[in-house]
């Protein structure tokens, strides 16, 4: 087993693209996610018909973090046409006797939502009694989306990248004939799977340490709990990914076919990883998450990073990952019987 693990390590190190995929790609994508989901310094632009609006509201709007553009009465009445021609304006506030205040936006988007939040803040400032303060058991009102969802990406990367590399390596082993040759030596079938797991496990440990340190110390992703548990979870998740990749490789005869299976194997797991709250998924489909390994990893990482959980709170998820790996190990050793009965 140790010889196989060493070979996997040496072979992966000799393939520069695999090294980049394991160590550089997750940091690069995390950085992009950080900028995409992080705090934005975007200032919304709101169009108003100054004369038709109450003076205090105009003043309150001007005090918010907004660019206020003054519109003519015609432009305000033809708000949709104006927005089509002036896409730098995010929202137009218009007043009428019958329908009161109307906010018109170009399309439902986060840009529009930000403008609406500022308008609501302006209105709340006119009536302090209507002001609502939000407070949370975990997290704060002003934390960015990256802070809220960052843990999901830690789970996704530790699973996805190792899955791809190990799945492809095993397919290559089969298609190149080396698996048959390997199994004509006295190595046991279980040792083949364990050797692969140990070999990629080394990369998984280094990858997990890199990702966690980079997220917490460079991207300032907040973590309430002990990051040691996050590391352990990520390594267990990556070990599961190796077995998962091995199992999927049984059904693929080329590297391309591993890629073709991603929509069936990985994409559904992304949806059930915590990006979308499982309670919101209709028809109890959220329960499907229990058959997806990423769910266990993401739930444990969230527990530690967001709720400050320790081993006593996350052991069930870790056990889920270990059981998943063990079942896949049994499945994979059975699958190798195709190449050698013994």
């Amino acid at each position: 087993m140790i010889h196989l693990a060493k070979r996997v390590i040496r072979q992966t190190l000799n393939d520069k693209r695999s090294v980049m995929m394991i160590f550089v790609a997750p940091l690069l994508i995390l950085t992009l996610v950080y900028f995409l989901l992080g705090d934005s310094d975007y200032v919304s632009t709101v169009g108003i018909e100054k004369d038709a609006m109450p003076g205090p509201l105009v003043s309150a709007l001007e005090e918010q973090d907004l660019h206020v553009v003054e519109l003519t009465s015609d432009d305000a009445q033809q708000a949709k046409e104006y927005l089509k021609d002036h896409q730098q304006v995010d929202a137009i506030i218009s007043f009428s006797q019958n329908s009161g205040m109307t906010i018109t936006m170009y399309e439902p988007s986060t840009k529009g939502s930000k403008a609406v939040r500022e308008i609501q803040a302006a209105m709340a400032s006119l009536n302090p009694a209507a002001k609502v303060n939000l407070s949370y058991v975990y997290g704060t009102q002003d934390q960015s989306m990256f802070d809220s969802l960052g843990y999901v990406f830690l789970a996704l990367f530790s699973f996805f990248l190792v899955f791809i590399i190990s799945g492809m390596a095993l397919v290559r082993e089969r298609s190149g004939g080396t698996l048959e040759r390997l199994l004509m030596t006295p190595i046991k079938r279980g040792e083949v799977i364990l050797g692969y797991t140990a070999g990629f496990g080394v990369f998984a440990v280094i990858q997990a340490i890199l990702i966690v340190l980079y997220s917490i110390f460079v991207l300032k992703l907040s973590s309430v709990g002990n990051i040691g548990w996050v590391l352990l979870t990520m390594v267990l998740l990556a070990v599961t990914a190796v077995s998962f990749g091995a199992a999927i490789s049984v059904f693929a005869s080329s590297e391309l076919q591993v890629v073709q299976m991603i929509p069936f194997t990985i994409i559904p797991q992304v949806f059930f990883s915590g990006l979308i709250p499982l309670d919101l998924i209709p028809y109890h489909l959220g329960n499907l998450s229990y058959i997806m390994p990423i769910y266990y990893g993401a739930a444990a990482i969230k527990g530690v990073m967001v709720y400050g959980d320790g081993f006593l709170q996350i052991w069930g998820y870790l056990l889920g990952l270990i059981l998943y790996s063990f079942l896949l190990y049994l499945l994979n050793t059975q699958a190798l019987k195709k190449f050698r009965k013994l």
């Binding site: 070979r7 048959e180 040759r181 390997l182």
Partner: protein, 243 residues
């Protein structure tokens, strides 16, 4: 070690690939499995090494029924494709396979040097296999197969796609390995190669049409070319089909 193949048959889904094949190879000889492409040579080799189970019949190597885990230590196998790790050097490939045979470090180092010299790749030992030519890969594949000094060596089309000069060289190496006491089973579709062997099993459509010493087989032909035996087998089967 001798090999005894008794009434072995193998079917893949709809096709009967090996049909009731029986023959015995004495220890220390080179036996050639000769036949056109698709005749069942590779399947027969895979059955003999225990990679796939026979539907019927038995295979014994040195009196031990195959498949047998302990016997894998004594078998060397060179598959039809090179089956090497392209991202590793020649030396790393050998070191890896040597480790799987539990060879101790000092012995392994010595043996790696020996086999690399034998296949004339010593000066390329540090090169990655992906930079090797087809012929170099074949020779390295042979080196991997003989690394653990097997008592019995299975070679599946070892000279396919090899130029005549290198082919000559490879056959000389087979003779050296045989002279060291190893039994060699080599499949080929190159009819001329039969003269390099002690015995030959002629496989056609999954059946053993002839098995004898090469000298005797050549005496059965009119002009000393073994193809004649296939022509008569082919015309017999076509005649049978037309009836």
């Amino acid at each position: 070690m001798d090999i005894v193949v008794s009434h072995v048959s193998k079917r893949f889904v709809q096709k009967q690939v090996i049909k009731d094949v029986t023959f015995a190879i004495p220890a220390g000889e080179i036996c050639c499995l000769l036949g056109p492409s698709g005749s069942g040579k590779t399947t027969l080799i895979r059955l003999m090494i225990g990679a796939i189970p026979a539907d019927q019949g038995t295979i014994e190597i040195g009196g031990v029924q195959i498949p047998n885990m302990n016997m894998l230590e004594k078998i060397g196998f060179m598959p039809q494709n090179d089956a090497l790790y392209d991202d590793l050097s020649a030396e790393a490939n050998l070191r890896f396979f040597g480790g799987l045979y539990h060879m101790e470090k000092v012995k392994l180092e010595k043996r790696i040097n020996e086999v690399l010299a034998m296949v004339d790749l010593k000066e390329h030992e540090k090169k990655l296999v992906k930079n090797f030519s087809g012929g170099m890969k074949k020779r390295l594949s042979l080196a991997v197969a003989i690394l653990h000094s097997p008592e019995i060596l299975f070679l599946d089309e070892p000279t396919a796609g090899i130029d005549p000069v290198l082919r000559r060289k490879i056959w000389e190496q087979f003779q050296d390995i045989k002279n060291a006491g190893t039994t060699i089973i080599v499949s080929t579709h190159v009819m001329d190669e039969v003269t390099e062997c002690d015995k030959a099993a002629l496989i056609y459509n999954g059946s053993l049409i002839e098995y004898d010493s090469v000298t005797n087989l050549l005496q059965k032909t009119q002009n000393g070319r073994v193809e004649e035996l296939f022509f008569s087998a082919s015309s017999n089967s076509m005649g049978g089909a037309s009836q």
